[in-house]
């Protein structure tokens, strides 16, 4: 496999000065249906090996497939959301090749008759000239099935190479997949990596909005392959492309495209030529390596699946599904930006952080939009980043964040205490109220203890007390600080200041 782990790369600025990139992105989405595409086995993630299998998804002799209606509906809804045409008549086809994780040694897929074709998705990318919209053409979206999972045993690394043998679990085999393929993406120039990332981000947002998949890249329910080629100028024909597999985070997509551009450019600048091949992305080292070269071109011997009948969605059915689509993401973004009254830049920050859904939900749960953004883009973004998870996957709900914020606005918590409550919720200590109670975090609102603490602080710093009495109100901070320290942060600083000034008979 990787004989050339340290390939030459060209500096990125030089690449974009001399070459025009063309991209093609293939995204596989695992649908969130209750059962598999062609049988009634459940699709629950993480079940014990080979317990979610039946004769059909194990490919036992005599078994037959029957199409999951929700799988077809999801495919049509995805097609419609991507502005595609929906086929009036299409078939499944068998893609024939042998592989141990594929029970029938053919994949039931679609070939020249995809259920959805010819659409587009608009994505926004920040450029030197501000936010620019790129229209990504969608070639097709088609239905197929997932394979089983193979674990490699023995050898050094648990990888396929050097393993002594492998173990196969077919629980995943037959889970519905939708493959979404773009048309060649041209005209992105130096923004190619950002456009690739923005496309997958927007697609993920769209799929989540449709409720058809949990789109968790780390669990493999959304997977991306990136085709990259370079040419000297946009008027040239397409260069030879490579297909980089296993690009399974948003950040990796951007990095992998950028890396492939710099690697291919170095080869071309040296007078070499690009080999059409599969390449593997390595998250740790940030490079791609060559897949094993094929001795013969693949010959999948596609033919119409005789065990399944054609699908002919009536126009009434398609229109009914169209009415069930959620609001178009671009329209929704514009609407929320207007309702919240925030700038383009603020909105872009929310989008880049993937925080639109959680902020919207937090606002819906009663929080102020500014507070909601502050929490999700600040403290919570920091924690998510530390843990390497998406905001939505943090163990805190928008309703809980809104709950914390409500305690702040009613004066029960100050900012510092609120952060501790958030920390408690994230640590699994329960609802915000419960964390406040169990950690004893409420702001001290009784004036008695505060006055006692003020008197103590004034006695300890008589010179400061004199300065304040003499009209140097700004010196009050030192006393307030001492009181806050004495009450371990549980006092409302504003209230302490007011009481202090009253005590000394001074006004602001």
């Amino acid at each position: 496999m990787s004989t050339d782990t340290t390939e030459k790369v060209l500096p990125y600025d030089d690449v974009v000065a001399s070459f025009d990139p063309v991209l093609g992105l293939e995204v596989h989405v695992e649908l969130g249906t209750a059962t598999k595409m062609f049988c009634g086995c459940p699709t629950t993630f993480g079940a014990a090996p080979n317990t979610q299998v039946c004769p059909t998804c194990l490919g036992l002799p005599g078994s037959l497939p029957v199409v999951n209606k929700v799988g077809v509906e999801s495919a049509i809804r995805i097609g419609l959301a991507l502005n595609c045409s929906i086929a009036e008549w299409c078939r499944f086809a068998r893609k024939n090749y042998f592989y141990p994780d594929m029970p029938k040694n053919f994949q039931t897929s679609q070939y020249d008759e995809p259920i959805a074709y010819d659409g587009y998705l608009d994505v926004d990318v920040e450029t030197d000239e501000g936010v620019k919209t790129f229209r990504i053409g969608i070639e097709r979206a088609h239905m197929e099935e997932d394979t089983g999972k193979t674990t490699h045993q023995g050898g050094a690394t648990g990888r396929i190479h050097g393993a002594d043998y492998s173990l196969v679990d077919y629980n995943r085999a037959g889970i519905p997949l939708i493959e979404i393929v773009t048309k060649p993406i041209e005209g992105t120039g130096k923004y190619a990596p950002e456009v690739a990332r923005a496309y997958v981000t927007a697609l993920r947002e769209l799929l989540r909005g449709l409720g058809v998949s949990d789109v968790k890249m780390e669990q493999g329910s959304l997977r991306c392959d990136a085709n990259v080629s370079l040419r000297r100028t946009p008027s040239d024909t397409f260069g030879t492309r490579t297909e980089t597999k296993n690009v399974n985070s948003l950040r990796s997509i951007e990095r992998a495209v950028r890396y492939e551009m710099t690697r291919q450019a170095a080869v071309l600048e040296d007078g070499g030529s690009i080999t059409q091949e599969t390449r593997h992305w390595h998250e740790d080292t940030g490079i791609t390596t060559s897949g094993r070269s094929k001795e013969e071109a693949e010959d999948y011997r596609y033919f119409p699946e005789p065990d399944l009948v054609p699908i002919a969605p009536s126009r009434e059915w398609v229109e009914e599904l169209r009415t069930s689509l959620p609001e178009n993401p671009a329209v929704r973004r514009a609407r929320l930006q207007q309702v919240w009254g925030i700038s383009d830049l603020d909105m872009q920050t929310v989008l880049n952080a993937g925080a639109l859904d959680v902020v919207e939900d937090t606002v819906a749960a009663g929080a102020d939009q500014a507070a909601a953004r502050k929490w999700w883009l600040g403290e919570l973004a920091r924690v998510a980043n530390e843990r390497g998870v998406e905001l939505a996957d943090l163990p805190i709900t928008p309703a809980q964040v809104a709950g914390v914020e409500a305690l702040v606005s009613e004066g029960t918590l100050n900012d510092k205490l609120a952060r501790q409550v958030i920390e408690g919720v994230l640590a699994g200590e329960g609802e915000p109220d419960a964390v406040v109670a169990s950690r004893g975090l409420a702001v001290v609102s009784d004036d008695g203890p505060l006055l006692a603490a003020i008197d103590e602080a004034l006695a300890a710093q008589p010179d400061v007390a004199d300065k304040i009495r003499g009209g140097k109100v700004q010196a009050a901070g030192a006393i307030v600080g001492a009181v806050m320290k004495a009450t371990r942060g549980q006092a409302d600083a504003g209230r302490v200041r007011a009481l202090l000034l009253e005590r000394l008979g001074v006004s602001e």
Binding site: L60, G62, F98
Partner: protein, 501 residues
């Protein structure tokens, strides 16, 4: 029923009514057939597996149900031989192939489940050409079945085991499967009745696929009425088979009892006869046509100009689908695995060694033929063209059925040939199905029934009846009428002329 009656000589209808009336127990019927199998099957070799224990248990359950006053279904207590291409939970299912030796499926085929629900007593699994590829059962990995009429001759194929079991009185009923004639051609050469129902009438769930768009399971019996009774048990919509027809099953039993061809328009297919058909086959066929006319049928000649291309189209479509259907036999999830200890082989090598060792020559030929026909660059000329011929065949049938209610032809060009005669000449073997294949390509139903013995060799000749899709009842009506007239003429069932085993 008295002890002197040979229970194996009864029809299924007679057996069922005797069991229902309490004249004989289902257990006695099962035991009589198990005894018959023990007595003759070493020479016939119709069975690959006999499940004596299961059969007796099923029979006793029927007897218990009867004595507790339950209403028995019309075939309760009747023994049956199941072609080894249908799964039966826990019972070896080999499809006549080494690659499945010892495999016990963890589930029942829908046909199997319906038989069990109907109280039919499954005696065991019958021999067949490997994965139903052949017309002689010589391609079984477990040795050929012998024709009860002449043990040196083939019983037809692929369902030679099912047909021979019936002809040898080892069972009154059997299940066959028909992809290009595998129910009808064995019926013809063994003097029995076999029906390929309309495609989609009988569920394919649990039928190990040869060619998915052609395969159809159906009844084998000694009389048209018995076939109809079995047909009505196994047919009907199955949500586990996407190609299953969601329509009421035609009243085939009523049609078999009606047996009246007065005014029925019967079309003799010009292209299925004449040159290439044995003289005795032609003679008996012509006599049957005359008999049908005597019975009041209106006989017309129809032409199906594309039928001469049917065999070629079939031998492209079938291998193509089968090359893909048989890909799952790779030694990973079930069945044979070989070559694991020779060196340090990869899974790819073990799969290839397993498939080389597990598939016989005919399966290998057809897998490679199909692989070729589906390959990039050849698809349009071969598989694509074959699918167009399929359309033309369907159009020929549609035109013919405007002129006739049913179509007839000889079932097979010859009577049973000698074992070994065509074994290494694939094209000669393929010609046995020349008359039966068009019905599979079009999805329409077809029946074969015996019409006499060829004068030159004294072996059975079959007549094929074909009807439009979902008009299976027409087969039974016309078939039963002809059967009745022949019985009157002969004075006894044709199988009584077969030599004693």
């Amino acid at each position: 029923m008295t002890g002197s009656t040979d229970l194996t000589r009864l029809t299924a209808a007679e057996t069922a009514s005797a069991v229902a009336a309490g004249e004989v127990s289902a257990a006695e019927v099962a035991a009589a057939h198990l005894d018959r199998i023990a007595a003759v099957d070493d020479r016939v070799h119709a069975f690959l597996h006999v499940d004596a224990e299961g059969a007796l248990a099923a029979a006793k359950a029927v007897d218990a149900a009867r004595s507790s006053g339950e209403q028995l279904s019309p075939l309760a207590g009747v023994p049956l031989a199941l072609k080894d291409v249908l799964t039966q939970k826990g019972i070896p299912t080999t499809c006549g192939s080494r690659i499945l030796e010892g495999w016990r499926p963890p589930y029942d085929a829908t046909v199997t489940a319906r038989l069990k629900d109907a109280g039919v007593v499954i005696l065991g699994k019958t021999n067949m050409d490997e994965f139903a590829m052949g017309s002689s059962t010589e391609h079984s990995a477990y040795g050929a079945t012998h024709n009860p009429w002449d043990l040196d001759r083939i019983p037809g194929g692929s369902g030679g085991g099912s047909a021979a079991a019936i002809a040898a009185f080892e069972a009154p009923l059997a299940i066959g499967t028909d992809t290009g004639g595998s129910i009808r051609q064995p019926a013809a050469v063994t003097g029995t009745v076999g029906v390929k129902p309309t495609y989609g009438a009988v569920s394919r769930f649990g039928l190990v696929a040869l060619a998915s768009s052609l395969d159809q399971a159906g009844p084998c019996a000694r009389t048209v009425l018995d076939a109809a009774l079995l047909h009505s048990v196994i047919a009907g919509h199955d949500p586990l088979d996407s190609t299953s027809l969601d329509q009421p099953v035609p009243d085939v039993v009523g049609a078999a009892r009606r047996a009246d061809v007065k005014g029925l328009r019967i079309g003799v297919v010009k292209e299925l006869g004449g040159e290439g058909y044995q003289a005795g086959v032609r003679q008996r066929f012509d006599e049957a046509v005359a008999l049908l006319a005597d019975l009041g049928a209106e006989v017309v000649e129809v032409s199906a100009p594309h039928f001469p291309y049917a065999l070629a189209a079939y031998y492209l479509i079938l291998p193509s689908e089968c090359s893909s259907n048989l890909a799952k036999f790779d030694g990973i999830r079930f069945g044979l695995r070989v070559g694991e200890d020779d060196g340090d082989p990869s899974v790819e090598q073990v799969m290839a060694r397993t498939r080389a060792a597990g598939f016989g020559p005919e399966a290998t030929r057809r897998i490679m033929l199909g692989t070729y026909a589906l390959s990039a660059g050849y698809y349009d000329a071969y598989y694509g063209s074959a699918q167009k011929v399929r359309t033309l065949i369907q159009r020929d049938f549609a035109a013919a059925f405007e002129q006739a209610d049913v179509l007839i032809s000889p079932t097979a060009p010859t009577t049973a040939f000698k074992l070994g005669e065509k074994l290494d000449d694939p094209l000669a073997m393929y010609l046995n199905d020349v008359a039966t294949i068009p019905a599979n390509l079009a999805g329409i139903p077809g029946m074969s029934l015996p019409i006499g013995l060829a004068p030159e060799d004294g072996l059975p000749v079959g007549l094929q009846i074909m009807a439009p899709a979902m008009a299976d009842d027409r087969l039974y009506n016309a078939g039963a009428a002809l059967e009745g007239a022949l019985l009157d003429r002969w004075g006894h069932p044709i199988l009584e002329e077969a030599p004693a085993l």
